[in-house]
Amino acid sequence: MRKKNIRLIIGIILILVMTALFALLPKIYNNNFLLFNIMLYIALAEGLNLIYGFTGYLPFGYVGFFGIGAYSASLLILLLHVGVVPAILLGGVAASIVGIILTPLLRLSGAYFAIANLAASQAIYYIISNPHLENITQGPYGIMLSSVYDATASYNAMLIVMFFAFMLVLFFRQSRFGLSLMAIREDSITASVAGVNVVLARTIAWLLSAFVAGLCGGVFAWYTSVFYPETVFSLNISIFAIVFVLFGGAATLIGPLIGTVILYGMYNFIGISTPQYFQLIYGLLIVMLIMFLPNGVVSLFKKVKDYVP
């Protein structure tokens, strides 16, 4: 059997195990909030992986899509009385639409893209939270969704979004579409000479990545039910997702998973009460990773790397 197929089977097993785990854990462990957040960050990290891992664009403003998803879903529910599930799906779509508006940013190279994307997410935040738009977005007052609050259903929705994000990454990892993306990442001119429609492939990855973040935002809004603009546009959300992906290893299925479970777990032990310790540790981690392990923890498994999903 080809290595790639073995990798596929390992990947599918991994996804099923993780999904089953998070479906069953609430029965024996009652901190649903923590479980929910781990799933949320796994999904966000995998979503960011779609664009960063496979095309090399680092979306510093990834949280912008998350916030758009949260707000679009909430406002659809509150103002237009759309059902929760369609509203969340439309939240994902809204994030992708913002992604389309931002596609010109993909023309920029590395650091410029990252900062321009950051600026875009900040701009969206300041627009949504502006008091002049209070009639639509409720401005600084934030959102209250307690009328549709449902802890169990929203937990399960997160489970589905996580599963979806896993499947997308697995598809990117295994398919030739993913291969063309990686070719673009390595050298976009050669890729176009090889016949890859660079702009289209990159845009698809970008929009799927935005879509995942939008779904995460919508489900988060549902689960948390009360939030402010600064809650869902917090730059920390981008930063966490980026660090989790870098730590575990980009362009793999398992990397962001490892990164999230280890680092978010660590954050919950030391980060919530004394965030500066956690900030110091992850600052040091980033520096060490870039200097000594730029491809993340996954690159330690050199011997079996062809089998790492």
């Binding site: 070719a183 176009s192 000479v193 090889a194 016949g195 660079v198």
Partner: protein
């Protein structure tokens, strides 16, 4: 019966700022021929290759491929149409293996695969075999250039000559009808050069026409039937290499007269 013209370059111009890199270039390539493109550094050879392969858009003029206008068309579409190239300095996909490098090209665009991406996503069948089945094309391309044994290696681990062969394999995997080869022999030893010359000659037999840009005259001499000499952005001579050697202007250009 005269041979069929597959590429026709008509009055093509390209400027970089004030500099005219190409000035009213006219050129034809016929079926089953290897055309040599020679000239001193800065005479516009590589620029012409970049224009034909769609990396630069020409500022003026027309290019026809099998009678169809192709100037200004995006590079990846030209690859689908059957024009491909290699680079003077090899640009492989470093992080991918040799096979994967060729596989990307063999997708014959990614175009078909993007279509099947959605189709297979819809049917949840995207992992099945048959979706973009291109394994044979990949293997053929790799074995033509003789990289079979290295196909699981990462592209970064190859030496320069192997990277050049990989570039050739990648171009072949798109099944080109016209291949643009930019200074492939530069920096290689005699043995490697001969091997590449041999490969190129077998390609012509598979009805692929080739434009070769090269400084090494013995290489050009060995494989081409016809050369075009360029100087300051324009062709100044067209004919066999022997004729060129006797042409006054060509001699002037090369000896810096």
């Amino acid at each position: 019966m005269s041979p069929k013209e597959i590429l026709k370059v008509e009055n093509v111009e390209k400027r970089f700022g004030g500099l005219k890199a190409l000035n009213k270039v006219n050129l034809s390539v016929y079926e089953n021929e290897i055309l040599g493109l020679v000239g001193p550094n800065g005479s516009g050879k590589t620029t012409l290759i970049n224009v034909i392969s769609g990396i630069y858009k020409p500022d003026a003029g027309k290019i026809y491929f099998f009678g169809k206008r192709i100037d200004g068309i995006a590079t990846y579409k030209l690859a689908h149409l059957g024009i491909n190239r290699t680079f003077q300095i090899p640009k492989p996909f470093h992080g991918l293996t040799v096979r994967e490098n060729v596989e990307v090209a063999a997708l014959y665009s990614g175009k078909q695969c993007l279509k099947s991406f959605f189709k297979h996503l819809k049917n949840f069948k995207f992992m099945e075999k048959g979706y973009c089945n291109i394994e044979d094309d990949v293997q053929t391309a790799i074995s033509i250039v003789g990289l079979d044994k290295l196909q699981d290696k990462q592209a970064t681990q190859l030496n320069t000559s192997e990277q050049k062969l990989l570039g050739l394999a990648r171009a072949l995997a798109t099944k080109p009808k016209l291949l643009l080869v930019d200074e492939i022999a530069a920096g290689l030893n005699q043995e490697e050069t001969d091997k590449i010359a041999e490969i190129l000659q077998t390609l012509v037999k598979k009805s692929i026409s080739i434009i070769v840009v090269e400084h090494l005259m013995h290489f050009i001499h060995k494989i081409t039937s016809r050369v075009v000499v360029m100087d300051s952005g324009s062709p100044i001579f067209e004919g066999t290499l022997e004729q060129a050697a006797n042409d006054k202007r060509v001699v002037e250009v090369f000896l810096g007269g």
